[in-house]
Subunit: 450 residues, 2 copies
């Protein structure tokens, strides 16, 4: 929806809501996509948002609520009666219903699970067992599976019968008597096949599936690698238990990228872009600021150690920011490439040595370019020997920063910590402390020659 | 494929390749997914990679080459004869063929376009007209479209006939006599509909399409917003001209996230994770390092201006790193949230004021927490008045950095520059210079009280 249209619609609805003109509001909203209705709602005043949402039929409300951003949804749901929540949950697909119930306070969740239809309630309880960011946590129970003896004709009949329950059908999954996944059939193949053929004779046996406990980021990498639109999820015995569709994977990819970027920026607790609570935001950002704080107290102590040299060559002080910044920037460049490579599954542990040697060579080139420049400037405007000390420091600081930047994420992965947290304040702080020590150490060592 | 399996297969193939045992190699590779074969190839020695790739039939080679990373593909293709390239391109879908031809040197591209079948050649030439990162640049010409008068029965027949040419069919697009897109029909709906119904009576008229010139990032946001698996592309008159599938969009999303992360890390030219040329890598990273270099020369001049104050209160020097780092970290936190919000389309220009006011409030909280801590430490170990100066500086530096961090990306968007470049060295360098001026200005102003 264009920004201008949106603005007009929002204005109209704000006015109509103040007039409590529910008929006109529904006239405007009907026929819009749930995502568009959600965006409109998100831009209304809180009071009007609640009023307008209350006008929606449960089936529309259930589609819209899924599309709201997390902050708006949480706020909206917290103000709904549990009867209304139950109505809405009843209309949802199993994965969305589970996500919504998981966000509810325990006592309301229980009431909702009691109120919705029994099958739905069982499904949600089953899905709640899985960790939120695993294949089991994002899978849905709406899929089409059939025994291998089914004929193509029967399969098509079955899809007709299930058309209402399973909104998106891309593949038919084929299972044996024990419920083990034995193959799949894209809808196109079903159409192309002959009516009397049995599924076991037309299925594609080489089916890619994932276990319930696989991390969602890994699932996303599998979708990407094999160009999938949906993937079956199996339990530890290989029985088909759910399905993940690519639209959820697209969300996962955006989420994981956002998460990595935030971690790299030193935001500890994931911050919603539309988060409005200043304290929640502060709370997420302060931990790494405080790590930096402590690190810089150490940096202050490092400088204190070199007080005598600094007093001797006062000029050295002026280049403290430069050494810090050039180290910081080089370290983050190296770290970002490594962190991203790990996230996309493009850097295997075997690549460690190659990667480090590449980064060292790059830092040699960059360090020499920057060092020579600095040498030239200082040699012209001050004196060559101090220029040489600065140039060598620059080279050493950049090499050190690149090694730290590339190796810390690789080490973190090896010990099972998310490498993304490394590429931010952690590396920068380390770099500052070590970089300053290198720089001032070199200055001190060459005091008599400057 | 598991890392261990992969390692074993690679060892086997390296050995077999040295023995030129082509039969055994093909036995191992046949039945693997193209992405897996590509990964195996990418891990072989250069010579063996070339040899093994040469063994593959053109249709398999065409699937494998698409899955290679850009660096490996470019290297491999540069060593192929144009006859072999033509064979491979002939087997490709139009969008992949276009990407490959676009990467070739002009003279070879011409030879290839002459050698492949005429229809394919026309398609590639048509697709080459579009900018690489627009809807037109990523769309393919393989899709199923039918006139609105077609019956369901005829449509199914047509799909059977086209089954070979169009590997992935999720939707049938319906066009009128002028070729204008009038609706679509998911395959499931086609199965559910009655054989004698006309498409115009069962189609979904509310079809989301994109124009050829739309930026691919925007297309990706539309996929995400409306949970699509494919989208029709139309020309300026509304005529159907192509189709984009979600697997390509998944690539776009990963690419755009990688690009943003790299820009935020100050990497000017996109760096492939598997890039091996040290000079290419340096060349991409140096520009922002040099911007930082110049910025830090200015920072040195700022310090030089305050030489007298620094000599008066030598202790102030020790906190230069802290002021720089806390400003830098706060600025990047603010910038990252804004850059990400813009990329995902979740921050509209109307949100500018709200966003800034939120960032200022957050920086007040964080600045006060850090400032108080610093005040406490300095008051205890040195003296309260210097502690107060440091605390106020810290607060001012953090507020300044947050405002810069949030506003620079918003300003860049307004003037049409990619905001992601802001969230890296640019903001950090500005922050360093302004932060140092604020800090030393405050120190100088309060010299007599310390």
């Amino acid at each position: 929806m264009e920004d201008l249209d949106l603005k007009n619609i929002i204005e109209d609805i704000e006015y109509l809501a103040s007039e409590k003109n529910s008929r006109m509001i529904l006239n405007i909203l009907v026929g819009n996509y749930p995502a568009d209705v959600a965006q409109i709602l998100g831009n209304l005043s809180e009071e009007n948002e609640k009023y307008v949402f209350g006008l929606l039929d449960a089936d529309i409300a259930s589609d819209v609520i899924v599309e709201l951003d997390d902050v708006s949804r949480e706020k909206l749901v917290s103000e709904l009666q549990h009867e209304r929540i139950s109505e809405i949950v009843d209309e949802m697909e199993s994965d969305d219903a589970t996500d919504l119930v998981a966000e509810l306070p325990d006592e309301i969740a229980e009431k909702v699970l009691d109120a919705i239809d029994e099958e739905g309630s069982e499904e949600v309880k089953e899905l709640l067992q899985h960790e939120e960011d695993t294949a089991g946590g994002i899978m849905a129970l709406e899929y089409v599976s059939m025994p291998e003896e089914t004929t193509v004709d029967e399969a098509i009949e079955e899809i007709r019968a299930k058309a209402e329950d399973v909104p998106e059908v891309y593949n038919v999954y084929v299972v044996d008597n024990e419920g083990m996944l034995v193959g799949f059939l894209p809808l196109k193949n079903l159409i192309v096949a002959q009516a009397s053929q049995k599924l076991k004779d037309v299925l594609i046996a080489d089916v890619i599936s994932v276990p319930t406990e696989m991390d969602q980021e890994e699932v996303a990498n599998i979708f990407r690698r094999y160009n999938l639109v949906s993937i079956p999820v199996v339990d530890e015995l290989g029985r088909l238990v759910g399905r993940i569709t690519v639209d959820d994977i697209v969300e996962v990819i955006e989420e994981e990228a956002s998460e990595d970027m935030q971690k790299m920026a030193g935001i500890a607790d994931e911050e919603e872009i539309r988060e409005t609570s200043v304290f929640k935001i502060s709370f997420g950002r302060l931990p790494w600021l405080l790590v930096g704080f402590v690190g810089q107290l150490i940096a202050a102590l490092v400088l204190f150690q070199f007080e005598a040299s600094l007093k001797d060559i006062f000029l050295a002080i002026f280049f403290i920011p430069m050494m810090m910044a050039m180290g910081g920037n080089s370290g983050i460049q190296a770290a970002t490439i490594v962190v991203r490579g790990i996230a996309l599954g493009e850097l295997s542990p075997d690549d460690t040595f190659k990667r480090l040697s590449r980064e060292i060579r790059v830092s040699l080139v960059n360090g020499m370019v920057c060092g020579l420049l600095l040498f030239g400037i200082i040699a012209i405007f001050y004196n060559p020997s101090f220029g040489l000390v600065l140039a060598l420091s620059m080279l050493a600081v950049i090499i050190n920063a690149s090694i730290l930047g590339a190796s810390i994420p690789l080490i973190l992965r090896r010990v099972g910590v998310d490498p993304a947290i490394a590429a931010g304040p952690l590396i920068t702080t380390f770099n500052d402390i070590i970089g300053l020590a290198i720089y001032l150490g070199l200055v001190t060592a060459s005091l008599q020659y400057i």
